[in-house]
Protein backbone atom coordinates (compact mmCIF):
# COMPACT_ATOMS: atom_id res chain seq x y z
CA UNK A 1 0.00 0.00 0.00
CA UNK A 2 1.39 3.37 1.05
CA UNK A 3 5.11 3.71 0.53
CA UNK A 4 7.12 4.34 3.67
CA UNK A 5 8.31 7.80 2.71
CA UNK A 6 4.94 9.11 1.47
CA UNK A 7 4.31 12.67 2.57
CA UNK A 8 1.38 14.96 2.07
CA UNK A 9 2.06 18.34 0.48
CA UNK A 10 -0.29 20.61 2.42
CA UNK A 11 0.05 23.57 0.06
CA UNK A 12 -0.88 21.40 -2.93
CA UNK A 13 -3.86 19.80 -1.23
CA UNK A 14 -5.02 23.19 0.06
CA UNK A 15 -4.96 24.45 -3.49
CA UNK A 16 -7.00 21.44 -4.68
CA UNK A 17 -9.48 22.12 -1.88
CA UNK A 18 -9.66 25.84 -2.73
CA UNK A 19 -8.36 26.74 0.73
CA UNK A 20 -6.32 29.88 1.15
CA UNK A 21 -3.52 29.14 3.65
CA UNK A 22 -0.66 31.49 4.40
CA UNK A 23 2.87 30.14 4.73
CA UNK A 24 2.71 29.95 8.54
CA UNK A 25 -0.54 27.97 8.45
CA UNK A 26 0.87 25.66 5.78
CA UNK A 27 3.93 24.93 7.91
CA UNK A 28 1.79 24.32 11.01
CA UNK A 29 -0.59 21.90 9.21
CA UNK A 30 2.36 20.21 7.52
CA UNK A 31 3.83 19.39 10.96
CA UNK A 32 0.46 18.25 12.38
CA UNK A 33 -0.38 16.09 9.37
CA UNK A 34 3.07 14.52 9.47
CA UNK A 35 2.35 13.46 13.05
CA UNK A 36 -1.00 11.97 12.08
CA UNK A 37 0.46 10.11 9.12
CA UNK A 38 3.25 8.82 11.35
CA UNK A 39 0.67 7.51 13.81
CA UNK A 40 -1.34 5.72 11.09
CA UNK A 41 1.86 4.31 9.67
CA UNK A 42 2.18 2.05 12.70
CA UNK A 43 -0.24 -0.30 10.97
CA UNK A 44 2.57 -1.07 8.52
CA UNK A 45 4.47 -2.81 11.32
CA UNK A 46 1.89 -5.59 11.28
CA UNK A 47 1.92 -8.46 8.83
CA UNK A 48 -0.93 -7.54 6.46
CA UNK A 49 -0.34 -10.22 3.81
CA UNK A 50 -3.62 -11.37 2.31
CA UNK A 51 -5.70 -8.76 4.10
CA UNK A 52 -7.91 -6.66 1.83
CA UNK A 53 -7.95 -2.93 2.61
CA UNK A 54 -11.24 -2.06 4.30
CA UNK A 55 -13.30 0.88 3.09
CA UNK A 56 -15.75 0.96 5.98
CA UNK A 57 -15.46 0.30 9.68
CA UNK A 58 -18.54 -1.86 10.16
CA UNK A 59 -19.64 -5.07 8.44
CA UNK A 60 -22.98 -3.61 7.33
CA UNK A 61 -24.03 -3.78 3.68
CA UNK A 62 -26.87 -3.05 1.27
CA UNK A 63 -28.63 -0.19 2.97
CA UNK A 64 -31.19 0.76 0.37
CA UNK A 65 -34.32 2.79 -0.10
CA UNK A 66 -37.16 1.82 -2.41
CA UNK A 67 -37.65 3.83 -5.59
CA UNK A 68 -40.51 5.85 -4.13
CA UNK A 69 -40.89 9.58 -4.61
CA UNK A 70 -40.81 11.92 -1.63
CA UNK A 71 -41.68 15.59 -1.58
CA UNK A 72 -38.89 17.93 -2.62
CA UNK A 73 -38.15 21.20 -0.85
CA UNK A 74 -40.41 24.17 -1.55
CA UNK A 75 -38.98 26.35 -4.26
CA UNK A 76 -38.43 29.63 -2.45
CA UNK A 77 -36.47 28.39 0.57
CA UNK A 78 -34.20 26.52 -1.85
CA UNK A 79 -33.34 29.68 -3.72
CA UNK A 80 -33.15 31.67 -0.52
CA UNK A 81 -29.91 29.77 0.07
CA UNK A 82 -28.45 30.87 -3.23
CA UNK A 83 -25.89 33.71 -2.92
CA UNK A 84 -27.59 35.25 -5.94
CA UNK A 85 -30.47 34.02 -8.03
CA UNK A 86 -31.30 34.42 -11.68
CA UNK A 87 -35.06 33.87 -12.02
CA UNK A 88 -35.47 30.25 -10.88
CA UNK A 89 -31.80 29.33 -11.13
CA UNK A 90 -28.73 29.67 -8.97
CA UNK A 91 -26.61 32.46 -10.41
CA UNK A 92 -22.91 31.64 -10.62
CA UNK A 93 -19.91 33.23 -12.30
CA UNK A 94 -19.85 32.48 -15.99
CA UNK A 95 -18.63 28.92 -16.59
CA UNK A 96 -16.00 28.98 -19.32
CA UNK A 97 -15.00 25.76 -20.98
Amino acid sequence: MASANQTIDVAYVANLARLELNAAACAQFQRQIATIVEYVRQIGELNLDGIEPTSHGQPVYNVYREDVERPSLPHDPVLANAPTRLDDEFKVPRIVE
Partner: protein, 477 residues
Protein backbone atom coordinates in the same frame (compact mmCIF):
# COMPACT_ATOMS: atom_id res chain seq x y z
CA UNK B 1 1.19 6.74 -44.92
CA UNK B 2 -1.99 5.12 -43.66
CA UNK B 3 -3.21 5.91 -40.15
CA UNK B 4 -5.35 3.58 -38.07
CA UNK B 5 -7.73 5.01 -35.47
CA UNK B 6 -8.48 3.50 -32.06
CA UNK B 7 -11.66 4.71 -30.42
CA UNK B 8 -13.01 4.12 -26.94
CA UNK B 9 -16.31 5.43 -25.60
CA UNK B 10 -17.61 6.34 -22.16
CA UNK B 11 -21.37 6.29 -22.44
CA UNK B 12 -23.50 7.87 -19.71
CA UNK B 13 -26.98 6.42 -19.58
CA UNK B 14 -29.77 7.81 -17.42
CA UNK B 15 -31.56 4.93 -15.74
CA UNK B 16 -35.33 4.57 -15.72
CA UNK B 17 -35.99 5.16 -12.04
CA UNK B 18 -38.76 7.29 -10.59
CA UNK B 19 -36.44 8.91 -8.09
CA UNK B 20 -32.85 10.06 -7.84
CA UNK B 21 -29.87 7.89 -6.91
CA UNK B 22 -29.53 8.95 -3.28
CA UNK B 23 -32.77 10.77 -2.41
CA UNK B 24 -36.51 10.63 -3.10
CA UNK B 25 -36.68 13.61 -5.49
CA UNK B 26 -38.43 12.94 -8.81
CA UNK B 27 -36.41 12.34 -11.98
CA UNK B 28 -39.25 13.52 -14.26
CA UNK B 29 -38.01 15.61 -17.18
CA UNK B 30 -39.13 19.14 -17.90
CA UNK B 31 -40.10 20.46 -14.46
CA UNK B 32 -39.38 24.14 -13.79
CA UNK B 33 -35.84 24.78 -12.49
CA UNK B 34 -34.93 23.80 -8.92
CA UNK B 35 -38.29 22.26 -8.01
CA UNK B 36 -37.04 18.65 -7.74
CA UNK B 37 -34.34 19.22 -5.15
CA UNK B 38 -33.78 18.47 -1.48
CA UNK B 39 -31.01 18.73 1.13
CA UNK B 40 -29.32 15.55 -0.22
CA UNK B 41 -29.07 16.51 -3.90
CA UNK B 42 -28.28 20.13 -3.04
CA UNK B 43 -25.39 18.97 -0.89
CA UNK B 44 -26.53 20.55 2.38
CA UNK B 45 -24.09 19.73 5.18
CA UNK B 46 -25.21 16.75 7.22
CA UNK B 47 -27.70 15.41 4.66
CA UNK B 48 -27.25 11.67 4.20
CA UNK B 49 -27.53 9.80 0.90
CA UNK B 50 -29.34 6.42 0.72
CA UNK B 51 -28.97 4.14 -2.32
CA UNK B 52 -31.92 3.61 -4.64
CA UNK B 53 -32.34 -0.20 -4.81
CA UNK B 54 -33.90 -0.01 -8.26
CA UNK B 55 -30.84 1.78 -9.71
CA UNK B 56 -28.60 -1.04 -8.48
CA UNK B 57 -31.01 -3.60 -9.97
CA UNK B 58 -31.14 -1.84 -13.36
CA UNK B 59 -27.36 -1.54 -13.56
CA UNK B 60 -26.90 -5.24 -12.81
CA UNK B 61 -29.58 -6.14 -15.39
CA UNK B 62 -27.71 -4.01 -17.96
CA UNK B 63 -24.49 -5.81 -17.09
CA UNK B 64 -26.13 -9.20 -17.48
CA UNK B 65 -27.65 -8.22 -20.85
CA UNK B 66 -24.19 -7.11 -22.01
CA UNK B 67 -22.39 -10.22 -20.80
CA UNK B 68 -20.54 -8.54 -17.92
CA UNK B 69 -19.30 -10.22 -14.81
CA UNK B 70 -21.18 -8.85 -11.81
CA UNK B 71 -19.03 -7.78 -8.88
CA UNK B 72 -20.24 -9.42 -5.69
CA UNK B 73 -18.60 -6.63 -3.66
CA UNK B 74 -19.08 -3.11 -4.88
CA UNK B 75 -18.74 0.30 -3.28
CA UNK B 76 -19.12 4.01 -3.91
CA UNK B 77 -16.38 6.66 -3.83
CA UNK B 78 -16.11 10.41 -3.77
CA UNK B 79 -14.55 12.12 -6.77
CA UNK B 80 -13.53 15.61 -5.68
CA UNK B 81 -13.67 18.55 -8.00
CA UNK B 82 -15.01 22.07 -8.00
CA UNK B 83 -17.57 23.11 -10.54
CA UNK B 84 -20.76 25.12 -10.05
CA UNK B 85 -22.99 22.29 -11.36
CA UNK B 86 -21.80 20.00 -8.52
CA UNK B 87 -23.11 21.36 -5.21
CA UNK B 88 -21.21 18.99 -2.88
CA UNK B 89 -17.86 19.64 -4.57
CA UNK B 90 -17.59 15.91 -5.05
CA UNK B 91 -19.48 13.46 -7.18
CA UNK B 92 -20.51 10.10 -5.77
CA UNK B 93 -19.30 7.48 -8.23
CA UNK B 94 -17.56 4.11 -8.23
CA UNK B 95 -13.79 4.01 -8.52
CA UNK B 96 -12.16 0.61 -8.04
CA UNK B 97 -15.13 -1.65 -7.26
CA UNK B 98 -17.73 -1.10 -10.00
CA UNK B 99 -20.90 -3.17 -10.23
CA UNK B 100 -20.05 -4.75 -13.60
CA UNK B 101 -16.79 -5.80 -15.27
CA UNK B 102 -16.04 -6.89 -18.84
CA UNK B 103 -18.77 -7.81 -21.30
CA UNK B 104 -19.20 -6.76 -24.90
CA UNK B 105 -21.45 -5.48 -27.67
CA UNK B 106 -21.73 -7.26 -31.03
CA UNK B 107 -21.76 -5.03 -34.11
CA UNK B 108 -21.84 -5.60 -37.86
CA UNK B 109 -20.29 -2.97 -40.15
CA UNK B 110 -19.99 -3.55 -43.92
CA UNK B 111 -20.80 -7.21 -43.42
CA UNK B 112 -18.03 -7.74 -40.86
CA UNK B 113 -19.16 -8.89 -37.40
CA UNK B 114 -17.09 -7.87 -34.37
CA UNK B 115 -17.50 -7.74 -30.63
CA UNK B 116 -16.50 -4.51 -28.93
CA UNK B 117 -15.22 -5.25 -25.44
CA UNK B 118 -16.52 -3.37 -22.44
CA UNK B 119 -14.15 -2.49 -19.61
CA UNK B 120 -16.74 -1.86 -16.92
CA UNK B 121 -20.10 -0.40 -15.99
CA UNK B 122 -20.40 1.73 -12.89
CA UNK B 123 -23.10 3.76 -11.25
CA UNK B 124 -22.84 7.44 -10.37
CA UNK B 125 -24.94 10.57 -9.92
CA UNK B 126 -25.57 13.22 -12.53
CA UNK B 127 -24.69 16.89 -11.99
CA UNK B 128 -26.88 19.99 -12.37
CA UNK B 129 -27.65 21.64 -15.66
CA UNK B 130 -26.05 24.99 -16.38
CA UNK B 131 -27.26 27.62 -18.79
CA UNK B 132 -24.70 30.11 -20.04
CA UNK B 133 -25.41 33.80 -20.37
CA UNK B 134 -23.22 36.70 -21.44
CA UNK B 135 -21.91 37.63 -18.00
CA UNK B 136 -22.91 34.73 -15.77
CA UNK B 137 -24.30 31.19 -15.73
CA UNK B 138 -27.47 29.81 -14.14
CA UNK B 139 -27.71 26.38 -12.53
CA UNK B 140 -30.75 24.11 -12.26
CA UNK B 141 -30.20 21.20 -9.86
CA UNK B 142 -33.24 19.12 -10.90
CA UNK B 143 -30.90 16.76 -12.72
CA UNK B 144 -28.31 16.66 -9.92
CA UNK B 145 -28.34 13.23 -8.31
CA UNK B 146 -30.19 11.45 -11.12
CA UNK B 147 -28.72 7.92 -11.48
CA UNK B 148 -26.30 7.55 -14.38
CA UNK B 149 -24.75 4.34 -15.51
CA UNK B 150 -21.35 4.84 -17.12
CA UNK B 151 -20.47 2.20 -19.70
CA UNK B 152 -16.78 2.22 -20.62
CA UNK B 153 -15.40 0.41 -23.69
CA UNK B 154 -11.93 -0.80 -24.52
CA UNK B 155 -10.30 1.17 -27.40
CA UNK B 156 -11.62 -1.46 -29.83
CA UNK B 157 -13.57 0.70 -32.26
CA UNK B 158 -11.69 1.35 -35.50
CA UNK B 159 -13.87 3.85 -37.34
CA UNK B 160 -16.62 6.44 -36.98
CA UNK B 161 -19.01 3.91 -38.56
CA UNK B 162 -18.13 1.31 -35.94
CA UNK B 163 -18.71 3.85 -33.17
CA UNK B 164 -22.13 4.63 -34.65
CA UNK B 165 -22.99 0.90 -34.96
CA UNK B 166 -21.87 0.35 -31.35
CA UNK B 167 -24.04 3.17 -30.00
CA UNK B 168 -27.08 1.96 -31.93
CA UNK B 169 -26.60 -1.65 -30.77
CA UNK B 170 -26.03 -0.53 -27.17
CA UNK B 171 -29.11 1.67 -27.21
CA UNK B 172 -31.19 -1.18 -28.62
CA UNK B 173 -30.02 -3.57 -25.90
CA UNK B 174 -30.72 -1.03 -23.15
CA UNK B 175 -34.20 -0.40 -24.54
CA UNK B 176 -34.86 -4.15 -24.60
CA UNK B 177 -33.59 -4.37 -21.03
CA UNK B 178 -36.03 -1.62 -20.08
CA UNK B 179 -33.38 0.18 -18.02
CA UNK B 180 -33.44 3.53 -19.82
CA UNK B 181 -35.67 5.53 -22.14
CA UNK B 182 -32.51 6.34 -24.14
CA UNK B 183 -34.14 9.59 -25.19
CA UNK B 184 -31.32 11.66 -26.70
CA UNK B 185 -33.34 14.89 -26.79
CA UNK B 186 -33.79 14.67 -23.03
CA UNK B 187 -30.11 13.93 -22.50
CA UNK B 188 -30.66 10.32 -21.40
CA UNK B 189 -27.60 9.19 -23.32
CA UNK B 190 -24.41 11.22 -23.54
CA UNK B 191 -20.90 10.17 -24.29
CA UNK B 192 -17.24 11.07 -24.07
CA UNK B 193 -15.13 9.92 -26.98
CA UNK B 194 -11.45 8.94 -26.76
CA UNK B 195 -9.66 8.76 -30.07
CA UNK B 196 -6.09 8.30 -31.23
CA UNK B 197 -4.45 7.39 -34.52
CA UNK B 198 -1.24 5.49 -35.20
CA UNK B 199 0.66 4.56 -38.37
CA UNK B 200 -0.63 1.32 -39.93
CA UNK B 201 1.43 -1.60 -38.67
CA UNK B 202 2.33 0.06 -35.37
CA UNK B 203 1.22 -1.86 -32.28
CA UNK B 204 1.37 0.88 -29.69
CA UNK B 205 -1.64 3.19 -29.53
CA UNK B 206 -1.09 6.85 -30.43
CA UNK B 207 -1.64 9.82 -28.10
CA UNK B 208 -5.32 10.12 -27.34
CA UNK B 209 -7.64 13.07 -27.40
CA UNK B 210 -10.87 13.17 -25.45
CA UNK B 211 -13.99 14.82 -26.87
CA UNK B 212 -16.38 15.60 -24.03
CA UNK B 213 -20.12 15.52 -23.62
CA UNK B 214 -21.50 14.49 -26.99
CA UNK B 215 -25.28 14.18 -26.97
CA UNK B 216 -26.13 12.97 -30.46
CA UNK B 217 -24.93 9.88 -32.33
CA UNK B 218 -24.58 11.95 -35.50
CA UNK B 219 -22.35 14.34 -33.57
CA UNK B 220 -20.13 11.47 -32.40
CA UNK B 221 -19.81 10.25 -35.97
CA UNK B 222 -19.01 13.69 -37.41
CA UNK B 223 -16.59 14.58 -34.59
CA UNK B 224 -14.73 11.31 -35.09
CA UNK B 225 -14.38 11.82 -38.85
CA UNK B 226 -13.02 15.31 -38.17
CA UNK B 227 -10.68 14.28 -35.37
CA UNK B 228 -9.27 11.24 -37.21
CA UNK B 229 -8.49 13.48 -40.18
CA UNK B 230 -6.99 16.18 -38.00
CA UNK B 231 -4.71 13.79 -36.11
CA UNK B 232 -3.66 11.91 -39.27
CA UNK B 233 -2.80 15.16 -41.03
CA UNK B 234 -0.81 16.31 -38.00
CA UNK B 235 1.27 13.12 -37.95
CA UNK B 236 1.65 13.08 -41.73
CA UNK B 237 3.04 16.63 -41.57
CA UNK B 238 5.64 15.53 -39.04
CA UNK B 239 3.76 17.00 -36.06
CA UNK B 240 2.69 15.45 -32.78
CA UNK B 241 -0.76 14.97 -31.25
CA UNK B 242 -1.07 16.67 -27.87
CA UNK B 243 -3.01 14.78 -25.21
CA UNK B 244 -5.94 17.06 -24.40
CA UNK B 245 -9.67 17.41 -23.98
CA UNK B 246 -11.51 18.94 -26.88
CA UNK B 247 -14.98 20.23 -27.50
CA UNK B 248 -17.07 19.49 -30.61
CA UNK B 249 -18.62 22.52 -32.24
CA UNK B 250 -21.49 21.19 -34.38
CA UNK B 251 -22.08 24.46 -36.22
CA UNK B 252 -18.57 24.79 -37.61
CA UNK B 253 -17.96 21.03 -37.70
CA UNK B 254 -14.65 21.26 -35.82
CA UNK B 255 -13.17 20.33 -32.45
CA UNK B 256 -11.46 22.88 -30.22
CA UNK B 257 -9.20 22.44 -27.20
CA UNK B 258 -11.00 23.07 -23.91
CA UNK B 259 -9.32 25.30 -21.41
CA UNK B 260 -8.32 22.93 -18.64
CA UNK B 261 -7.03 23.93 -15.24
CA UNK B 262 -3.87 22.46 -13.83
CA UNK B 263 -4.47 19.66 -11.32
CA UNK B 264 -7.90 19.22 -12.86
CA UNK B 265 -7.42 15.47 -12.95
CA UNK B 266 -6.35 14.99 -9.37
CA UNK B 267 -9.72 13.84 -8.12
CA UNK B 268 -8.53 12.45 -4.76
CA UNK B 269 -10.91 9.50 -4.90
CA UNK B 270 -11.71 7.96 -1.56
CA UNK B 271 -14.45 5.61 -0.26
CA UNK B 272 -17.77 7.39 0.35
CA UNK B 273 -18.13 7.12 4.13
CA UNK B 274 -21.87 7.88 4.03
CA UNK B 275 -22.72 4.82 1.93
CA UNK B 276 -22.20 1.19 2.85
CA UNK B 277 -20.90 -1.31 0.29
CA UNK B 278 -23.17 -3.33 -1.97
CA UNK B 279 -22.80 -7.08 -1.56
CA UNK B 280 -24.74 -9.15 -4.09
CA UNK B 281 -25.13 -12.83 -3.47
CA UNK B 282 -24.95 -15.30 -6.33
CA UNK B 283 -28.56 -16.44 -5.88
CA UNK B 284 -29.80 -12.87 -6.32
CA UNK B 285 -27.72 -12.33 -9.45
CA UNK B 286 -28.91 -15.63 -10.94
CA UNK B 287 -32.54 -14.77 -10.19
CA UNK B 288 -32.11 -11.50 -12.09
CA UNK B 289 -30.38 -13.33 -14.92
CA UNK B 290 -33.30 -15.74 -15.20
CA UNK B 291 -35.70 -12.82 -15.57
CA UNK B 292 -33.78 -11.09 -18.39
CA UNK B 293 -35.68 -10.21 -21.55
CA UNK B 294 -34.63 -11.75 -24.85
CA UNK B 295 -31.65 -10.01 -26.47
CA UNK B 296 -32.28 -8.27 -29.83
CA UNK B 297 -30.00 -10.65 -31.78
CA UNK B 298 -31.70 -13.73 -30.31
CA UNK B 299 -35.07 -12.30 -31.15
CA UNK B 300 -34.09 -11.65 -34.78
CA UNK B 301 -33.13 -15.29 -35.21
CA UNK B 302 -36.30 -16.52 -33.54
CA UNK B 303 -38.59 -14.31 -35.65
CA UNK B 304 -37.05 -15.68 -38.84
CA UNK B 305 -37.50 -19.26 -37.65
CA UNK B 306 -40.93 -18.97 -36.06
CA UNK B 307 -42.72 -16.73 -38.54
CA UNK B 308 -40.91 -17.50 -41.78
CA UNK B 309 -40.00 -13.87 -42.47
CA UNK B 310 -36.78 -12.74 -44.22
CA UNK B 311 -33.73 -11.79 -42.14
CA UNK B 312 -34.05 -8.22 -43.40
CA UNK B 313 -37.61 -7.96 -42.07
CA UNK B 314 -36.56 -9.40 -38.71
CA UNK B 315 -33.86 -6.71 -38.48
CA UNK B 316 -36.33 -3.90 -39.11
CA UNK B 317 -38.98 -5.29 -36.77
CA UNK B 318 -36.62 -5.93 -33.84
CA UNK B 319 -35.00 -2.49 -34.06
CA UNK B 320 -37.67 -1.38 -31.59
CA UNK B 321 -38.89 -3.77 -28.93
CA UNK B 322 -42.43 -2.34 -29.05
CA UNK B 323 -42.61 -2.93 -32.82
CA UNK B 324 -41.38 -6.52 -32.43
CA UNK B 325 -43.97 -7.14 -29.68
CA UNK B 326 -46.69 -5.70 -31.92
CA UNK B 327 -45.57 -7.91 -34.80
CA UNK B 328 -45.59 -11.09 -32.76
CA UNK B 329 -49.06 -10.50 -31.33
CA UNK B 330 -50.50 -9.73 -34.78
CA UNK B 331 -48.68 -12.55 -36.59
CA UNK B 332 -49.78 -15.11 -34.01
CA UNK B 333 -53.39 -14.00 -34.29
CA UNK B 334 -53.75 -14.04 -38.08
CA UNK B 335 -51.13 -16.67 -38.87
CA UNK B 336 -49.62 -14.69 -41.79
CA UNK B 337 -46.25 -13.43 -40.55
CA UNK B 338 -45.01 -12.20 -43.91
CA UNK B 339 -48.16 -10.12 -44.52
CA UNK B 340 -47.98 -8.61 -41.00
CA UNK B 341 -44.32 -7.82 -41.56
CA UNK B 342 -45.08 -6.09 -44.89
CA UNK B 343 -47.90 -4.06 -43.40
CA UNK B 344 -45.78 -2.92 -40.46
CA UNK B 345 -42.66 -2.11 -42.47
CA UNK B 346 -44.46 -0.16 -45.18
CA UNK B 347 -47.72 1.27 -43.87
CA UNK B 348 -47.57 1.26 -40.07
CA UNK B 349 -44.01 2.62 -39.72
CA UNK B 350 -44.78 5.25 -42.36
CA UNK B 351 -47.88 6.40 -40.49
CA UNK B 352 -45.92 6.52 -37.22
CA UNK B 353 -43.29 8.65 -38.93
CA UNK B 354 -45.85 11.01 -40.50
CA UNK B 355 -47.77 11.46 -37.26
CA UNK B 356 -44.54 11.53 -35.25
CA UNK B 357 -45.90 9.15 -32.61
CA UNK B 358 -45.21 5.72 -31.13
CA UNK B 359 -47.22 2.50 -31.38
CA UNK B 360 -48.40 3.00 -27.82
CA UNK B 361 -49.81 6.42 -28.75
CA UNK B 362 -51.79 5.39 -31.84
CA UNK B 363 -55.17 3.64 -31.78
CA UNK B 364 -54.12 0.68 -33.91
CA UNK B 365 -53.79 -2.54 -31.91
CA UNK B 366 -52.01 -5.67 -33.13
CA UNK B 367 -55.37 -7.48 -32.94
CA UNK B 368 -56.97 -4.95 -35.29
CA UNK B 369 -54.16 -5.21 -37.82
CA UNK B 370 -54.33 -9.02 -37.67
CA UNK B 371 -58.10 -8.97 -38.26
CA UNK B 372 -57.70 -6.57 -41.20
CA UNK B 373 -55.11 -8.86 -42.79
CA UNK B 374 -57.31 -11.89 -42.16
CA UNK B 375 -60.14 -10.19 -44.10
CA UNK B 376 -57.78 -9.85 -47.08
CA UNK B 377 -56.53 -13.42 -46.72
CA UNK B 378 -60.11 -14.74 -46.71
CA UNK B 379 -60.79 -12.54 -49.77
CA UNK B 380 -63.59 -10.75 -47.93
CA UNK B 381 -62.03 -7.44 -48.99
CA UNK B 382 -59.28 -6.66 -51.45
CA UNK B 383 -55.89 -5.20 -50.57
CA UNK B 384 -56.61 -1.60 -51.73
CA UNK B 385 -59.77 -1.55 -49.60
CA UNK B 386 -57.79 -2.80 -46.62
CA UNK B 387 -55.10 -0.17 -47.15
CA UNK B 388 -57.80 2.47 -47.40
CA UNK B 389 -59.12 1.48 -43.96
CA UNK B 390 -55.75 1.59 -42.21
CA UNK B 391 -55.42 5.36 -41.59
CA UNK B 392 -58.83 5.39 -39.89
CA UNK B 393 -57.96 2.35 -37.72
CA UNK B 394 -54.68 4.06 -36.92
CA UNK B 395 -56.35 7.29 -35.80
CA UNK B 396 -59.50 6.07 -34.07
CA UNK B 397 -59.36 2.27 -33.91
CA UNK B 398 -62.36 0.07 -34.59
CA UNK B 399 -63.39 -3.39 -35.69
CA UNK B 400 -62.42 -4.00 -39.36
CA UNK B 401 -65.11 -6.63 -39.98
CA UNK B 402 -67.87 -4.35 -38.65
CA UNK B 403 -66.59 -1.42 -40.72
CA UNK B 404 -66.60 -3.56 -43.87
CA UNK B 405 -70.18 -4.71 -43.28
CA UNK B 406 -71.47 -1.30 -42.27
CA UNK B 407 -70.03 0.37 -45.36
CA UNK B 408 -70.60 -2.42 -47.84
CA UNK B 409 -66.91 -2.68 -48.66
CA UNK B 410 -67.00 -6.45 -49.15
CA UNK B 411 -65.08 -7.61 -52.17
CA UNK B 412 -66.93 -8.40 -55.40
CA UNK B 413 -65.66 -11.90 -56.08
CA UNK B 414 -68.40 -13.16 -58.39
CA UNK B 415 -66.93 -13.92 -61.85
CA UNK B 416 -70.18 -13.27 -63.76
CA UNK B 417 -70.63 -9.90 -62.09
CA UNK B 418 -67.06 -8.81 -62.80
CA UNK B 419 -67.32 -10.19 -66.30
CA UNK B 420 -70.27 -7.86 -66.98
CA UNK B 421 -68.22 -4.91 -65.69
CA UNK B 422 -65.32 -5.88 -67.98
CA UNK B 423 -67.64 -5.99 -71.01
CA UNK B 424 -69.02 -2.57 -70.11
CA UNK B 425 -65.50 -1.20 -69.75
CA UNK B 426 -64.30 -2.52 -73.10
CA UNK B 427 -67.38 -1.04 -74.81
CA UNK B 428 -66.86 2.32 -73.19
CA UNK B 429 -63.12 2.58 -73.96
CA UNK B 430 -62.61 1.58 -77.60
CA UNK B 431 -59.48 3.71 -77.92
CA UNK B 432 -57.66 1.99 -75.06
CA UNK B 433 -58.69 -1.39 -76.50
CA UNK B 434 -57.28 -0.27 -79.87
CA UNK B 435 -54.03 0.75 -78.17
CA UNK B 436 -53.71 -2.71 -76.66
CA UNK B 437 -54.46 -4.46 -79.92
CA UNK B 438 -51.87 -2.18 -81.52
CA UNK B 439 -49.25 -3.66 -79.17
CA UNK B 440 -49.37 -1.36 -76.15
CA UNK B 441 -49.29 -3.86 -73.25
CA UNK B 442 -49.76 -1.22 -70.56
CA UNK B 443 -53.21 -0.44 -71.94
CA UNK B 444 -54.53 -3.63 -70.29
CA UNK B 445 -53.62 -2.23 -66.87
CA UNK B 446 -55.52 0.96 -67.65
CA UNK B 447 -58.59 -1.13 -68.45
CA UNK B 448 -58.29 -3.06 -65.17
CA UNK B 449 -58.16 0.31 -63.45
CA UNK B 450 -61.40 1.31 -65.16
CA UNK B 451 -63.07 -1.94 -64.05
CA UNK B 452 -61.96 -1.30 -60.44
CA UNK B 453 -63.37 2.21 -60.68
CA UNK B 454 -66.65 0.93 -62.07
CA UNK B 455 -66.90 -1.53 -59.13
CA UNK B 456 -66.13 1.37 -56.79
CA UNK B 457 -62.95 -0.39 -55.74
CA UNK B 458 -64.65 -3.56 -54.63
CA UNK B 459 -63.80 -5.98 -57.45
CA UNK B 460 -61.26 -8.69 -56.73
CA UNK B 461 -58.33 -7.11 -58.62
CA UNK B 462 -56.74 -10.42 -59.56
CA UNK B 463 -59.98 -11.74 -60.99
CA UNK B 464 -60.62 -8.47 -62.84
CA UNK B 465 -57.14 -8.55 -64.27
CA UNK B 466 -57.54 -12.15 -65.40
CA UNK B 467 -60.90 -11.48 -67.09
CA UNK B 468 -59.62 -8.36 -68.88
CA UNK B 469 -56.68 -10.36 -70.22
CA UNK B 470 -58.94 -13.16 -71.41
CA UNK B 471 -61.40 -10.88 -73.15
CA UNK B 472 -58.65 -8.86 -74.84
CA UNK B 473 -56.99 -12.06 -76.01
CA UNK B 474 -60.31 -13.15 -77.49
CA UNK B 475 -60.55 -9.90 -79.49
CA UNK B 476 -57.02 -10.25 -80.73
CA UNK B 477 -58.25 -13.49 -82.26
Amino acid sequence: MNYVPSIGLEVHVQLRTRTKMFCGCSTAYGASPNTQVCPVCLGYPGAMPVMNAEAIHQTVVSGLMLGCEIGTFSKFDRKSYFYPDMPKNYQITQYDKPLCLGGGVAIVVNGAARTIRLTRIHLEEDVGKSTHHAACSGVDFNRAGVPLMEIVTEPDLASADEAMAFLLALKQTLLYAGVSDCNLEEGNLRCDVNVSVRPAGQEKLGTKVEIKNMNTFKGVHAALLYEIDRQSALLAGGGRVVQQTRRWEPDSGETFPMRSKEDAHDYRYFPEPDLLPVVLDRAQIEAWRAGLPERPADRRTRLVQSYGIPVYDAGVLTADRAVADFFETAATRCGNGKAVSNWIMTDVLRLLGERNCTLAQCALTPETLADLIALVDRRTINLPTAKGLLPELFETGGNPALLVTARGLGQMGDADEISRLVDQTLEANPRIVQDFLGGKQAAAQALVGQVMKLSRGKADPQLASKLVAEKLAARKG
